[in-house]
């Protein structure tokens, strides 16, 4: 699609431009007859070159070359220079068509240099800029291309050349097409149509491209309309190749919508149009569409046949991006026919071509976003300077106004002079006030620009950050897997940990940036649940304490005065507090950091306060507002020392405000800072609190359970079933680890996975005996999961080794819970009558 459109546009450019020697040289004095005759010959060669260009670029290039040679023998003159530039332009255009970009580039650049001297801002100049832009686009430099197209547009606009303006706008649209920015594609092609309507060639191109963009955007009904218009234009032009190509695009859109019979009719029309040899190029594409139709109609053999014929017709071209979809159709067709190897080969090719396309689109759009961001950034810098300047102007005007008022007051005592002077001074006062007013208006404009710049920055970063997540998955996925392998030790483990930490930092930066973009757009999911504030803060502090101590700081937590249970978006709360603590650690070279959570009543409302105080470098009064702004780190010199995006505090405050709260700060330079997170306190529903606190210790609900099982997935499953029920849940990977963990936290119930032990004899059971003895010393209850009884005697008996209870596997979640419950209550009341339950084995 791309190459076709470009070729079409190039043809348009050529036929539209009037870069003939005579026209361009009108301004300069025309030399006398003999030279004019030779120029005339060159003119003829140039005219022939133009004619040959659409169909025979080789010939066109030869003739342009000949024209240049003819002109080279002329005495230097403006007309000669323009003539040479024109011939060079034609040579360049021909080389572009022949895909010889370096050669085209050399010739076009030389011609540009020459035309900039001889006839700047002429139509030929515009055409040369357009040619250079086309080369730059083909070389993957969309920014340079855009720049040149825009300059060309400006020239044509000034000259009032409406048609060339329209062409330049279409070219800009095609750059955005490469970046897959389809809204802009629609915009620019629409502008182009308005600039010069009712031109069949231009209409053809704009309708076709707008239709494709609408198709990509999923607006199929409008896309079909636009294809219809494109078809009409193609017919008016009498161009079978264009018609066939558009019919294929239309069939694809219909296929996507599931209108299979319509799509079939369109393909048939396309194939009949493509009988014209000029449209032969479209046949492979139409065959691809027909194959896809056959698959959709559940006729795999027919599809395979069509695919094979299509590849035969395509030949070498089958490995270009345009044939990407054909490879996917081939993959499906071969698969449906049971030919796995061919299917996979085509799938790999398809993936390869897709990745090229995606990365091209991604890098183009990233480049464009970066450009918009740069441009907006420059504006922002100018705006900031202006703001500073304007503020100074306001201050000055105010000062002047005040001075005048003082003078005025003094003069009131002189009666005769007053009347005259009053008039004069009042006029000056008004002028100062008007000046202040005008300056204020400018400030409003400048603020808008600053906002726009900020938005552009955020959007650019959000786009890039999202793309980074996928490769990050590869990096962090593998570091996690490697670190989970106990065989990885020593230096290798350290190196992998370093990679893992670095990856984690990247992830946090990416998340920060994306969060920032979301707060901008005002779109946020809030997830308010019942949560344990004490747990959140204590667990968090444990994480941060290590980092703080590594930096030589002490980190303290005070949660005496704060409620244990609250209703809030716990994830966001964690984000806010942790960001602030991280910030405190970053900017505190020595001393301590205190985190205190408490409540307060302000204006009759109850609030939760989390106060983070540090003995850090402090913040100057005038900067207290700025630290919450995005991308700001105080004093550029601190940036390298305190690396980061500068997003943390801005996000904190935005998040807090989204939760109907705020973040406040007080500080003193050289002494330290105090950040206060203020959030409305939502009372936790009483019933949930009560159930958490009042479970007696001799029930399952009041128990502290330790599960001995190494497999992390098994751990997750047990957690899913048991964590909601018991008071405390911990895991140990082996009996040895469990023994070490036993004295802590009043573990009263242990669940041991016994399958491994059951397989061993002798040694395994001895370990079980020792373990059971240790458990009994603590007064805890040992429950063993044991595989279902196989044969009769000779089978090891866990109860004989000291286990209190045995649960047979396989066991369902509900049954497991019930048996554990029974085990706990029976263990607590050993003198109670035994419970008659065939599933329970119990010590007599």
């Amino acid at each position: 699609m791309m190459a076709h459109n470009k070729a079409l546009l190039a043809a348009i450019l050529l036929s539209a431009s009037s870069g003939s020697v005579a026209a361009a040289g009108r301004a300069a004095p025309v030399p006398l007859a003999p030279a004019a005759q030779r120029l005339g010959t060159a003119d003829e060669l140039i005219a022939e070159s133009r004619r040959a260009m659409p169909t025979d670029p080789v010939k066109a290039r030869e003739q342009a070359g000949a024209a240049r040679a003819a002109l080279a023998t002329e005495p230097p003159s403006a007309a000669r220079q323009i003539g040479i530039a024109t011939a060079a332009w034609l040579e360049g255009e021909a080389s572009i068509r022949l895909s010889e970009l370096p050669r085209a580039q050399a010739v076009i650049l030389a011609a540009l240099r020459s035309i900039e001297r001889a006839a700047p801002n002429s139509k030929l100049h515009g055409s040369l800029l357009s040619s250079r832009a086309g080369i730059e686009a083909a070389l993957g430099r969309p920014l340079a291309a855009l720049n040149d197209y825009q300059r060309a547009y400006a020239i044509f606009h000034k000259l009032g050349e409406a048609r060339d303006q329209a062409i330049a706008l279409q070219n800009i649209g095609s750059i955005y097409n490469d970046a897959a920015d389809y809204e802009r594609v629609l915009y620019y092609y629409g502008l182009a149509h308005d600039a010069f309507p009712d031109d069949p060639i231009l209409d053809l191109s704009s309708s076709n491209n707008q239709a494709n963009a609408l198709d990509e955007l999923g607006r199929f009904a409008l896309a079909e309309q636009a294809y219809g218009e494109a078809l009409r234009a193609a017919r008016r032009l009498g161009s079978p190749p264009a018609e066939a190509r558009i019919l294929d695009n239309l069939a694809q859109a219909q296929l996507k919508q599931g209108h299979l019979s319509e799509a079939a009719k369109t393909v048939a029309r396309g194939l009949s149009v493509a009988r014209d040899p000029r449209a032969a190029d479209s046949i492979p594409l139409l065959m691809r569409t027909a194959a896809q139709l056959a698959l959709a109609n559940d006729r795999p053999r027919k599809a395979l046949d069509l695919v094979e014929r299509s590849f035969a017709a395509a030949g070498e071209k089958a490995l270009t991006t345009r044939y990407r979809e054909l490879h996917h159709a081939a993959y499906l067709a071969y698969k449906r026919n049971g030919q796995e190897k061919q299917a996979l080969d085509h799938f790999e090719t398809y993936k390869g071509l897709s990745d090229q396309g995606r990365s091209l689109a991604a890098s183009t759009s990233a480049t464009l976003a970066a450009a918009r961001f740069d441009f907006a950034n420059q504006n922002a810098r100018i705006a900031t300077l202006k703001t500073g300047q304007l503020q100074r102007d306001i201050a000055l005007s105010r000062l002047k106004a005040r001075q005048l008022q003082i003078v005025l007051g003094g003069l009131l005592t002189l009666v005769t002079v007053v009347a005259v002077l009053l008039g004069l001074y009042l006029r000056s006062l008004r002028r100062s006030r008007d000046a202040i007013g005008a300056v204020n208006l400018e400030l409003v404009d400048v603020n808008h620009e600053l906002e726009a710049a900020l938005l552009a920055k955020t959007q650019f970063l959000a786009t890039t950050s999202h793309e980074i997540r996928t490769p990050l998955n590869g990096v962090l996925g593998m570091t996690q897997v490697l670190l989970a392998d106990p065989a990885v030790v020593g230096d290798i483990r350290e190196r992998i940990m370093l990679m893992h930490k670095a990856g984690g930092t990247m992830q946090r930066l990416v998340d920060d940036i994306l969060d920032s973009a979301k707060t901008d757009a005002g779109s946020f999911d809030l997830d308010r649940t019942f949560g344990n504030l004490h747990e959140l803060l204590s667990e968090g502090i444990v994480l941060w304490r290590a980092k703080a101590e590594a930096a030589g700081l002490t980190l303290r937590l005070d949660i005496e005065d704060c409620p244990e249970f609250i209703v809030e978006d716990m994830g966001r709360l964690r984000q806010i507090v942790f960001n602030i603590v991280a910030n405190a650690i970053k900017f505190t070279p020595q001393g301590r950091i205190d985190v205190k959570a408490t409540t307060a009543t302000i204006d009759g409302g109850d609030f939760l306060k989390v106060i983070v105080s540090d003995t850090g470098i402090g913040i100057a009064q005038r900067d207290l507002g700025a630290i919450f702004e995005r991308f700001v780190q105080l004093d550029g010199s601190t940036t390298r020392q305190f690396a980061g995006t500068g997003l943390g505090l801005a996000i904190c405050r935005n998040l807090a405000r989204t939760l109907d709260g705020d973040v406040l700060v007080t500080s003193e330079v050289g002494v330290g800072s105090q950040f206060t997170v203020l959030l409305p306190l939502r009372a936790a529903p009483v019933t949930s609190v009560v159930s958490e606190l009042s479970a007696p210790a001799d029930t399952l609900e009041g128990s502290s359970l330790l599960i001995v099982r190494a497999n992390p997935l098994a751990q997750a499953m047990f957690a899913a079933v048991l964590k909601p029920i018991v008071a405390r849940l911990a895991f140990a990977a082996s009996m040895d680890e469990a023994v070490a963990a036993l004295p802590d936290a009043g573990t009263n119930l242990i669940l041991l996975e016994g399958t491994g032990l059951a397989a061993e004899t002798g040694d395994g059971l001895a370990r079980l005996r020792d373990f059971a003895a240790g458990v009994a010393d603590q007064g805890a209850c040992l429950v063993v999961l044991w595989p279902a009884a196989t044969a009769g005697p000779g089978e090891p008996d866990p109860l004989a080794c000291g286990a209190n209870f045995v649960i047979r596997k396989p066991v369902g979640a509900d049954s497991l819970v019930a048996q554990l419950r029974a085990a706990v209550s029976a263990h607590a009341q050993p003198d109670a009558l035994p419970v008659m339950d065939e599933r329970l084995d119990r010590v007599a």
């Binding site: 499906l332 999202h466 990050l472 998955n473 590869g474 897997v481 989970a484 992390p712 899913a720």
Partner: protein
């Protein structure tokens, strides 16, 4: 335990395959939605992991197809995996029939926790897992 991952990118498939190996599980894989649906037709799985963006049929459409089945396989737990963090994406996925959503880069423990939750919900025999 039989787990199927439907994902077109070989790197992402490898990451999850290796993570599940840590838990001793041999993962089954499909390179696109069509192949995945065919595998589900042929075999029973305990969990299906689904990428969202794939060429051809996309992830959510595949989820709908699974839920539209008239047999027990229609209620297989499905966990969607995506790099997208669009607001309300989680809600949309759940509304279309997914049981949970994980965001890339994947945290291994979160993957296990999610699978653990799915199996616990099933209520059935925990023995199936290992």
């Amino acid at each position: 335990m039989q787990i199927l991952f439907i994902e077109d990118d070989a790197m992402n498939r490898r990451v999850v395959k290796d993570m599940l190996s840590v838990a001793g599980i041999d993962m089954h894989e499909a390179v696109d939605a069509e192949a995945g649906l065919a595998m589900i037709e042929a075999k029973s799985f305990d969990i299906v992991l689904m990428d969202l963006r794939m060429p051809g049929m996309d992830g959510l459409t595949a989820v709908r197809h699974i839920r539209a089945r008239h047999d027990a396989k229609a209620s297989v737990p499905i966990i969607v995996i995506t790099a997208d963090s669009a607001t309300n994406l989680r809600r949309d996925c759940l509304a279309q029939g997914a049981d949970d959503m994980l965001v890339k880069p994947i945290a291994m423990q979160e993957l296990f926790d999610s699978i653990g939750q799915m199996m616990a919900r099933q209520g059935g025999s925990l023995e199936l897992m290992f």
